[in-house]
Amino acid sequence: MGIMGGGLTFKAYIVEGYDFRNIDYDLWLKRLNRGSFKPVNKEKSEKEAFGFSDSKDIFAEELDFRNTFYDNYVYFNFRRDTLKMQKSVINHYVKEIEKTFTKKVTKRELKEIKARAEAKYIRELYPTIASYEIIWNVETGILYFLTQSKAVNDKFTEWFERNMELELTEVETATFAATILNDDELIQFDKKSPSSLVSI
């Protein structure tokens, strides 16, 4: 299921802040690589990592120019790794550490024990890897992000805007209308209220 086969489900965005007749693709590749995926840092007890990855190899450290730019399209992935911890395992480690205490543990000590248990657990965990395709037509300015998960879309849009220094606006009822209406029509669009077909 994705760009290359099967059904397509995505959120579409309007990308603004560039002139498609004057694109510096090397600069864009630098910006994409600035936001490229970096693995979860277990030493810092991170539970999640995300970033851009190559369209053909999500494990590559950098995006490759030839795999990223096709005709008027920019094609890449948004990779998100998460460490999923089970409460029962954390509780088990907490109990193990508690056993090394001779006195009854205080609330403060319990907090520290939980942090140590989580850190121990994280070191043993492997991340769950997810990746979502992005295809962006730089001529029409429409970018398709192949998931409708709100949480992932929020992370992606924030990450994209920060690293690419461009603005994303979701295509929905009003923004889609704005792409097909002229200014006078858009004023009329804004003034209208629901008709008797969809109101009481």
Partner: protein, 182 residues
């Protein structure tokens, strides 16, 4: 597209979904005129059906009617739900380009349309029979963007009617007559 416009488009986000609800009812109405054949402003002819899935919801309240299988928009129960004041929450739409009776090659798109947010999903594109990676990518994107062109052209056709009061009043009468609420 959104910058330097006559109105602040971003202020309208999330506040204009009544247009997509009206658009879906209008599309249902259009799909039953002339067997779903619709001529777009650029003279392209397409055929539009609501098929396999239709969900109507109350304007106030939580009750929904789900119609599944075949061509639910043709069922009397679905029309009755519309008569009783329910509106389309979501439906599955099929768009066909090309007329088989004129020996034209046919291309078909099927997708789910949710009125809230003009949200389309589960898009089945016309099949692409090429193996080359880049060529396949180009063809799949061509079909996806062609679908967006048709949706834009249909939405524009609707908005041309909707934004002009006398034209819309006249269309509304016809739609209500079709619904059976005249």
């Amino acid at each position: 597209m959104l910058e330097n416009r006559s109105v602040d488009v971003k202020n309208m986000i999330g506040n204009k979904d009544f247009f997509s609800r009206e658009f879906l009812i209008w599309l249902w109405y259009m799909s039953e005129l002339d067997q779903g054949h619709i001529k777009l402003d650029d003279k392209t002819s397409i055929t539009v059906f609501i098929e396999d899935k239709l969900v109507l919801e109350e304007l106030l309240g939580d009750q929904e009617d789900l119609f599944k299988g075949g061509v639910p928009s043709e069922s009397p129960e679905a029309k009755y739900a519309l008569q009783s004041g329910k509106i389309i929450k979501e439906c599955k739409i099929k768009i066909i380009k090309g007329n088989a009776s004129l020996s034209e090659q046919q291309f078909e798109w099927i997708f789910n349309f949710k009125a809230t947010g003009f949200n389309i999903s589960g898009i089945k594109l016309p099949s692409v029979d090429v193996k080359d990676y880049k060529e396949k990518l180009r063809e799949r994107m061509f079909f996806l963007e062609e679908l967006y062109d048709y949706l834009g052209a249909l939405y524009k056709k609707f908005l041309n009617i909707r934004l002009d009061k006398p034209t819309w009043d006249n269309e509304l009468l016809k739609i209500k007559e079709w619904i059976g609420n005249d």
